[in-house]
């Protein structure tokens, strides 16, 4: 059991884990400040008979400070967030050469469609509806074109730090670059009915050569 985020396996993991750590440090400082202040006050100013509290209605300068500091920190975080957000989900963030894979989600399975040798989806040589197996080449941008048949599902690959809902009636693109070959879990993270818990797929990140070999075999109907 790790007490931290899962081992990273995509290029998003860097900035996301970095931001997570940064926020943890900032909020950790605030946490320690407030809680230690609280505990200190609890002991220091505990009631004594015959004594009165200090009669004051506040201090404008102190209030300005503790309004301004959180405001500056939050705006700073917002700027950083927005920077990475635009890279990850922004309107034009998907690299033009990204390898497309269609994700068709339905109760309760994932169907992946891979482009054939022509590298385009929607043509006759597509390898259609590979059930619950997502294979991606390492080190190359991949774009998932997500659609849902019945209800809302959500692609969640923890090691990629990737999550994107698949919504019926919409076609949503979501991209990533896998960095570490291996076998990972893909889970549905949006309640989609009573089989929600078992709607998962295996993600295999492999070298381009292995991926091409697998794809050739899959074209013959052998997806193992």
């Amino acid at each position: 059991m790790k007490w931290w985020l899962p081992a990273p396996a995509s290029t998003f993991a860097g900035p996301i884990d970095g931001m997570f750590t940064a926020i943890l440090i900032i909020t950790g400082l605030a946490f320690v400040l407030v809680e230690s202040g609280l505990i200190w006050f609890v002991f220091k100013y505990r009631g004594r008979p015959g004594q009165k509290g200090y009669y004051t209605h506040g201090n404008t300068r102190a209030e300005y400070i503790w309004t301004a500091v959180p405001a500056v920190v939050c705006v700073g975080l917002a700027i950083v967030s927005n920077h990475y957000w635009k890279q990850i989900k922004g309107r034009d963030s998907v690299p033009p050469d990204a390898y497309p894979i269609k994700v068709h989600a339905k109760q309760f399975e994932w169907l992946f469609t891979y482009p054939g040798p022509d590298g385009k989806l929607g043509t006759a040589d597509d390898i259609v509806d590979v059930r619950n197996k997502l294979h991606v080449p390492v080190g190359r941008p991949v774009v998932l074109q997500e659609e849902a048949e019945d209800v809302i599902h959500s692609v969640f690959i923890p090691v990629f730090r990737l999550r994107q809902d698949a919504v019926p009636g919409m076609n949503i693109r979501s991209w990533f670059i896998a960095t570490v070959p291996g076998e990972y879990d893909l889970a549905c993270s949006q309640l989609c009915g009573m089989g929600h818990y078992k709607m998962h797929a295996k993600v295999t990140v492999q070298s381009q050569a292995d991926f091409d070999a697998w794809l050739a075999k899959a074209a013959q109907g052998d997806i193992e």
């Binding site: 009669y55 004051t56 209605h57 506040g58 201090n59 404008t60 300068r61």
Partner: protein, 223 residues
């Protein structure tokens, strides 16, 4: 003690006044504010769905009977003006005119509900239902031969019946309350020049319902 401390020790004491409205009137205004949000949900959903509709929206007059509803709009505007006349009458202490105008309002309001019920029956007869168009109906034929765009009719039916239905429900509630007030307060002469809050408050509700209809009529029937 420093000056900052002295300033800090001044307790906050500004004085001000209320909004100069008696409880029921203020309560009605507060209620109407929440009604605005209720109709925002319904009308907002309509606008959003229409923006994203899969096909062309049916043109005004192709499905709905606009002249009949225009007459209905006229009725509701009349009932609004008769309501405000009733209010003005009792504010001047005129019981007789109050009774007259209040009754006119009830009749106009009830007629509105009646005409709307007729409209609904007629539409359903032609095949226009909340889920869209009924198979084998007159409108289904129009869709089949291409004179009526069919892709968005499901949304059209959903939004039309929900919006106008809830407006009609509000009108009905208004008419029922007015009949109750007419029998228990107006006819026995309980409203006086000193005490006519009830007329004002039910009037506020009634004008609001009219106001919603003005918006609905334009965006549902004319656009």
């Amino acid at each position: 003690m420093t000056t900052a401390d002295a300033r800090a020790m001044q307790p906050p004491f500004p004085a001000e006044r209320g909004v100069d409205a008696y409880n029921t009137k203020l309560g009605m205004w507060v209620f109407l504010a929440s009604e605005v949000m209720f109709f925002t949900a319904l009308i907002g959903a309509y606008i959003i769905l229409r923006f994203g509709a899969p096909g062309e929206w049916a043109r005004p007059g192709t499905v709905l009977n606009v002249p009949v509803t225009a007459f209905n709009t006229f009725l509701l505007i009349c009932s609004s003006v008769s309501m405000v006349k009733a209010y003005a009458s009792i504010a001047d202490g005129n019981q007789k005119l109050l009774k007259f105008w209040f009754l006119v309002t009830i009749i106009c309001g009830a007629s509105f509900v009646g005409v709307q019920a007729y409209e609904y029956l007629h539409l359903i007869h032609r095949g226009f239902v909340p889920s869209g168009v009924r198979d084998g109906s007159e409108l289904a034929e129009l869709v089949a031969n291409g004179t009526l765009p069919g892709a968005s009719l499901g949304l059209y039916g959903s939004t039309f019946y929900t919006m106008t239905g809830f407006h009609g429900f509000h009108v009905t509630c208004g008419v029922i309350s007015m009949i109750y007030l007419y029998l228990t307060k107006v006819l026995p002469g309980k409203y006086t020049q000193q005490n006519y809050g009830g007329v004002e408050v039910i009037g506020l509700y009634w004008h609001f319902v009219d106001l919603v209809w003005i918006i609905l009529f334009t965006i549902v029937y004319l656009i």
